[in-house]
């Protein structure tokens, strides 16, 4: 029997609520908007790409990247049916999401928190870290954590990053030589961005020195429902 404190710091924490940034990321609303071209919340980070390769390779041999690599490889394994997470350089892509793309800190924290929770659970069940397990045990661990809201969110987020690694322009660190596009017979557009032309390298917007945006949280409407529940009506125009 695991102590209660374990559950406070795991995928199975009953008080866990999906944070708003993730809700939006995973929601149908975002899907619809993305299909037509809109949205996502970002902030800035600034490390040069030249540092990436060396530090990525160093990072990969220890946690959290060892575990993340292991999870991504399990989610998209080597097989005859198509490229693996390794073939699409999914871990490298995720590394860039964390260190080079201007990803919200909350999201980065959640990526790493999940690693801790997964290994905590894996240790509790098998006395081993996730990456040391055989494939069958890995499957059991991931199925188990996917039964929790936080675990499901974490895995859905990683699968979302697999898709990005597979199908985004290679300059972002995944999809080498368009391997994902080729596999899925998708014809990419042109021109594609190169290093220096990625979305976070476009000319900057104006900055504001003193003031910060004020953000307020609106009240929750318990016991009420929206009058009209419909898909968002975004069109290409």
């Amino acid at each position: 029997m695991l102590p209660n404190s374990f559950f406070d710091n795991s995928f199975f924490n009953k008080n866990y609520q999906t944070p708003s940034w993730l809700k939006d990321k995973l929601s149908r609303r975002t899907l619809l908007k993305s299909a037509a071209g809109a949205t996502a919340i970002i902030s800035m980070s600034s490390m040069s790409f030249a540092e990436t390769k060396k530090s990525y390779e160093t990072a990969l041999v220890s946690d959290p990247w060892q575990t993340l690599n292991s999870v991504l490889m399990h989610l998209m394994p080597k097989s005859a049916s198509g490229p693996s997470a390794e073939d699409i350089r999914a871990t490298h892509y995720l590394y860039n999401v964390v260190y080079h793309q201007p990803t919200e800190q909350e999201e980065v924290d959640f990526v790493f928190k999940g690693v801790g929770w997964l290994n905590g659970y894996s240790q509790g069940q098998t006395k081993m870290n996730f990456s040391q397990l055989e494939s069958i045990e890995k499957e059991l661990m991931l199925r188990a954590i996917s039964g929790s809201t936080a675990g499901e969110n974490w895995l859905a987020m990683l699968i979302g990053y697999l898709f990005e690694a597979m199908l985004s322009p290679p300059a972002y660190g995944g999809n080498p030589n368009g391997v994902g596009w080729k596999w899925l017979q998708h014809q990419a557009g042109f021109p594609l961005p190169s290093d220096g032309q990625r979305y976070y390298e476009l000319p900057k917007r104006s900055v504001v020195q003193p003031a910060q945006a004020q953000k307020i949280t609106m009240s929750v409407h318990n016991g009420t429902e929206k009058l009209k529940v419909n898909n968002k009506g975004t069109r290409k125009a």
Binding site: A35, A40, S146, A156, P191, Q209, N231, K232, G233
Partner: protein, 572 residues
């Protein structure tokens, strides 16, 4: 520095004025909140365009508050706002020089004469604030022709039951290369008595005016154009304006307040520069064109002793009667294994445009239609056909099984292969009038402020039930065509939610200052030297995307402004 003309915003409403006046010799300044990008900074990058929305502000920095209607358990309804920084539902459409015209699809359908007199033709509808336009189609027609020539519209005029009158025989540029499915649509439409028509596009089919022609990358809608073929205000007009030596563009500059004197005349525009420093600029004539929501916001925020409720708002009309585009979408799938090799190859083609629309029901005259008019007569709309690209978004539909559980491993790979290699989806979009009502308007939010500390726009997005009826009627027609084409899994989605990229109204034009903000020349009734030239002027929006009409009207108003400026200059 003092200018002749100061324009706030740089999109489809602003650029014709900047271009016309700069060519006429006026000293023009354009103030744009976003950065000044060129063709070199537009890529077919789904992350940039869609998933990270990088041509728009961060919603944590600049947001809107969207008010939706809720109902309690007791059946009482109320309006509640939610900041878009919380919801993630962006109402920005391209905050860069050239504005949202950089990212438009460029479906350039003209309005039709009937759109200018909706109230006269169909009568009032209970709960809607329908008003005829103060000008007729004939007054705008020469400027549609000007847009076709100067922005560059490619297309072909065909005989059609609802073809609007034209002063020119055909479009100045031949149609863009068409997808093989266009022919499928033509044949299917003919066989069921529909009239499929070629869609005019604001995309050059031939190099012209210093711009390259379309390169057919297959990614057009919502993507910035790297060849210059798409007729954005930046590529088609501002570049030429700058070349005159008379046009100055101040980018990364956010206007927060317009000043006026004790006669109500505008005396200057205040903005934050790229570093957040307060600056101001003065001119003889001022033009506001920040897209409907932000134009109303700026006027409402510009309070003074003369205008305590905001500039040009002493009759409390600014922000009222905002409209979006009603309608929705539909789609059907074609499975490759049900097609012969030739058809399969045709369907898989990527690059050329479908460019087909149906306007057979631009006016509905059908006794079975149970709209507001008992005779089955109503304003209808337009149906446009298209393919979507965006593979990452497409992949996102494969990560769950039928019971909504996450899948991974072999099952995920199988789902991806199934999704991408076994079928293709043909879609259509329905555009019909979003009736103006008292439940759709812009005001200033009292609590939420942007990164500069200024109140953000609060947008109430209520719609009229009639919009849904018309949208559903049209969507059924689109679905019928898909059925005739042999598509499977046909579905439609008609929504009362606004498409955030299709907005107009808020400063409607009219002859009565009590019920309109602008006069027929889009000059503020209450402010002698203030014009609004984006889509804000429209009392009703028509049933086509807005950009073409915004361009045409802005060219029309530009002639008025040019005459005023020439008169000013002559006085001096």
């Amino acid at each position: 520095m003092s200018y002749d003309i100061c324009i706030v915003g740089s999109g489809a409403g602003a650029s014709p004025v900047a271009y016309t006046l700069a060519k006429a010799g006026a000293k023009v300044v354009v103030i744009e909140k976003g950065p000044w990008l060129t063709e070199k900074e537009f890529f077919k990058d789904e992350l940039a365009i869609s998933l990270r929305d990088s041509y728009n502000p961060k919603l944590a920095d600049e947001q809107h508050v969207i008010e939706e209607e809720y109902v309690t358990e007791n059946g009482e309804s109320y309006w509640q706002g939610e900041s878009t920084s919380d919801s993630g539902w962006s109402f920005w459409n391209g905050n860069v020089v050239g504005g949202s015209s950089n990212f438009m699809s460029g479906y350039f359908h003209r309005l039709k004469p009937i759109d200018f007199r909706l109230k006269t033709e169909f009568g009032a509808i209970n709960g809607a604030n329908i008003a005829d336009w103060p000008i007729s189609y004939d007054e705008l027609e020469p400027f549609y022709a000007q847009v076709e020539s100067e922005i560059g519209v490619s297309g072909k005029v065909v005989k059609h039951p609802h073809q609007e009158p034209r002063s020119t025989v055909d479009f100045p540029y031949p149609p863009l290369a068409e997808h093989a499915v266009s022919t499928w649509i033509d044949e299917a439409a003919a066989s069921i008595g529909f009239h499929a028509m070629p869609v005019p596009r604001a995309v050059l089919s031939q190099p012209a005016m210093g711009r390259k022609s379309c390169e057919y990358s297959g990614y057009c809608s919502s993507y910035g154009c790297s060849s210059g073929a798409k007729g954005s205000g930046r590529a088609a007009l501002l570049n030429h304006g700058v070349a005159t030596g008379n046009l100055t563009i101040i980018a990364n500059a956010k206007v927060y307040k317009i000043d006026n004197d004790d006669q109500g005349k505008v005396t200057g525009v205040n903005y934050y520069d790229s570093q957040g420093r307060k600056k101001s600029v003065a001119a003889k004539i001022y033009v506001i064109a920040c897209q409907a929501v932000e134009t109303s916001r700026l006027l409402l925020a510009s309070k003074s002793a003369f205008f305590p409720n905001g500039l040009a708002n002493n009759h409390d009309q600014v922000g009222k009667n905002l409209v979006f585009s009603a309608g929705g979408t539909g789609q059907g799938d074609f499975y490759f294994d049900e097609l012969n090799e030739q058809k399969k190859a045709e369907l898989k083609q990527v690059g050329p445009f479908i460019n087909r629309a149906l306007q057979d029901w631009y006016q509905i005259d059908d006794k079975s239609f149970s709209g507001a008019n008992s005779q089955g007569k109503a304003k209808g709309g337009t149906i446009d056909f298209l393919f979507y690209q965006n593979p990452i978004s497409r992949a996102q539909g494969t990560q769950r099984d039928e019971s909504n559980a996450l899948v991974w491993g072999e099952q995920l790979k199988k789902n991806l292969i199934q999704e991408f290699t076994t079928y293709k989806t043909l879609r259509f979009e329905v555009f019909n009038d979003w009736l103006p009502t008292n439940d759709c308007f812009v005001s200033l939010d009292e609590e939420v402020k942007d990164k500069w500390g200024d109140p953000v726009a609060k947008v109430r997005i209520g719609s009229h039930a009639h919009d849904l009826q018309v949208g559903e009627y049209l969507a059924e027609k689109g679905a019928k065509l898909l059925e005739e084409l042999g598509a499977k899994n046909i579905s439609t989605s008609v929504s009362s939610y606004p498409p955030t990229n299709l907005m107009a109204g808020g400063c409607r034009f009219g002859d009565d200052p009590k019920t309109s903000v602008l006069d027929r020349n889009c000059r503020a009734h209450e402010v002698d030297n203030l014009y609004v030239t984006d889509g804000s002027f429209m009392p009703t929006g028509g049933s086509v995307p807005y950009t073409f009409t915004i361009y045409a009207n802005a060219f029309r108003v530009a002639e008025q402004i040019k005459s005023r400026w020439q008169a000013f200059s002559a006085e001096v």
